[in-house]
Symmetry: C2
Subunit: 294 residues, 2 copies
DNA sequence: AAAAATACCTGACTAAAGTCAGGTAATGCA
DNA sequence: TGCATTACCTGACTTTAGTCAGGTATTTTT
């Protein structure tokens, strides 16, 4: 990484935290401590929130949050009720007054955003918004975490279900997981194989698997990215990790198959140095077979 | 301004303050209150700083800053000495230990920046850095403030001097302010005329003037942007303001002259709807004359 | 030379933010 | 059924941040 890049990131950090951060705080606290304001904002995002979820999202101490909630209850902006499904847990709702406050914060946030744009000329404004979208997307991309996980965890299963559902929709002939060269959790468990999961803010957004074929070769399967996370390079990073695992396992060759409907996947494999080979398995859904020497 | 733009700015604000802001704080406070850390950082930027300048830059209360300095003195990271030139004022120096702390913060800042970039692929990284540069530049542009000010203030004179110096350098024949259709402060003082100044973070970075020629027409002069602030649309905004002042004053027509060396200025005038006319004054440095109906 | 202004300091506050050690009620599990 | 766990609460703190009213030394102005 060049010094120049680092320097640019640091300048960016400085300017943005000053302009946006400081403005944001002053706009949004409006006579109420920032902690309370943030709480109203979080609570307003949905009909009701569990206290535990607030605690996690805002990173607050249990006692501290409790006190904040008591204060907001005193102001009549929230109600805290015990949860029907679990009597220990409690849920936070905004009262009508709270809804009003939430809307006010929303209007202020809009004004804050507008105050950043309004001094600019239309062309500059368009460029700023586009650059912000790019920064946002790539910053989010840079916080995607990829880790080897058990293939039978709830998150792993969720990803695989999404993946199958997408294949069913996209394949001409539909997709039946039982026919399609399925592999089971055991085959994705070291040392028979590996399952990697990509998460954004803790939420699974992609997966991939590597299965040992023999001592020298492995097969890559089930590489999937959630639609909302596409264009962030997640699949590439999953492949990076899977290939690294293959290298560690001593494989000389990685193989994979794919359906003709998955054109983005073809492009990705080609770009990463996979070359098309003849059929090496009897997967009824496969139209193309690739391999790459590690 | 469209809702879509506002929404994008708000998403950007949220993502950036979360990622950058939170990381920054945790990285940079390292066991020391953030206020003290910021102080060390500011003090380290130069050999020595006046307390008053720190107070201004960090926006701190005099008593509060004083206490922070005592605390840092106690930790042995700064020395506060009276200033030779003015016995009331005091100067802050980092001790050797303080220098070490400063360097540590620098390294941490670099690491923080690197941690945002490192998960990305080279192409993404390049795009992120470019987008950050764009956002930084345009956000800075959006905080430029333009105001009508007295033409004989220190900042106004500074701008005009810079402007003259640049003309001297760029004009084939050099430039002598006494010959060049000079106008004096009185002519830029309402209602005879107006002087507008552009500031970025309080520092003057551009100026412009409008002078009444008669009841129906005015002349725009001395539109200048500091080299480091170019490409931010400052000149356009100065022109906007000057034309608005002209409209308020009831002028029907604005005129201006310019030297052939100032090609960017020509482009700007043409883009804003000025059309070239014949010589209307005897400015020896002018090669082109323009006017625009308001 | 006296008066006014300045630059900083000290003391005495307050509010906000955060921490930690118990405590209570509800739930899950053996 | 009883014991461990959980989800949250309360009380008793500390730290950080910030404000404000004087006070002292120095410089500038008159």
């Amino acid at each position: 990484m060049q010094n120049e890049e680092i320097g640019q990131v640091r300048r960016f950090n400085r300017v943005v935290t000053q302009r946006v951060g400081a403005l944001q705080d002053s706009y949004l606290s409006r006579g109420r401590p920032l902690g309370e304001a943030r709480l109203i904002f979080e609570a307003g995002l949905s009909e009701s929130v569990d206290v535990s979820s607030l605690r996690q999202r805002l990173g607050l101490d249990s006692g501290y949050l409790s006190r904040l909630l008591r204060s907001l209850e005193g102001q009549g902006v929230v109600e805290v009720r015990r949860k029907a499904a679990d009597g220990r847990a409690r849920q936070v709702h905004l009262t009508q007054k709270g809804r009003g406050e939430f809307e006010t914060y929303n209007v202020l946030s809009d004004q804050l955003a507008a105050s950043l744009l309004s001094p600019l000329q239309p062309a500059q404004r368009t460029r700023l918004v586009a650059a912000m979208a790019e920064v946002e997307r790539l910053l989010r991309a840079s916080t995607v975490e990829i880790a080897v996980e058990p293939a039978d965890s709830a998150d792993a299963r969720w990803c695989l279900e999404q993946y199958y559902a997408e294949l069913t929709e996209r394949f001409e002939a539909g997709f039946d997981p039982l026919l399609g060269n399925t592999f089971h959790a055991a085959e994705m468990t070291p040392p028979a194989g590996w399952f990697v999961l990509a998460r954004l803010d803790g939420v699974p957004i992609g997966c991939g698997a590597l299965k040992a074929l023999d001592a020298d070769s492995g097969e890559i399967k089930r590489v999937w990215t959630a639609p909302e996370a596409r264009g962030m390079g997640v699949a590439s990073r999953l492949m990076d990790r899977l290939e690294a695992l293959g290298r560690e396992a001593g494989f000389k060759i990685l193989q994979l198959d794919t359906n003709k409907a998955l054109s983005e996947a073809h492009a990705l494999y080609r770009k990463r140095g996979y070359r098309e080979i003849g059929r090496y398995n009897d997967n009824p859904y496969a139209h193309h077979w690739f391999e790459k020497a590690l």
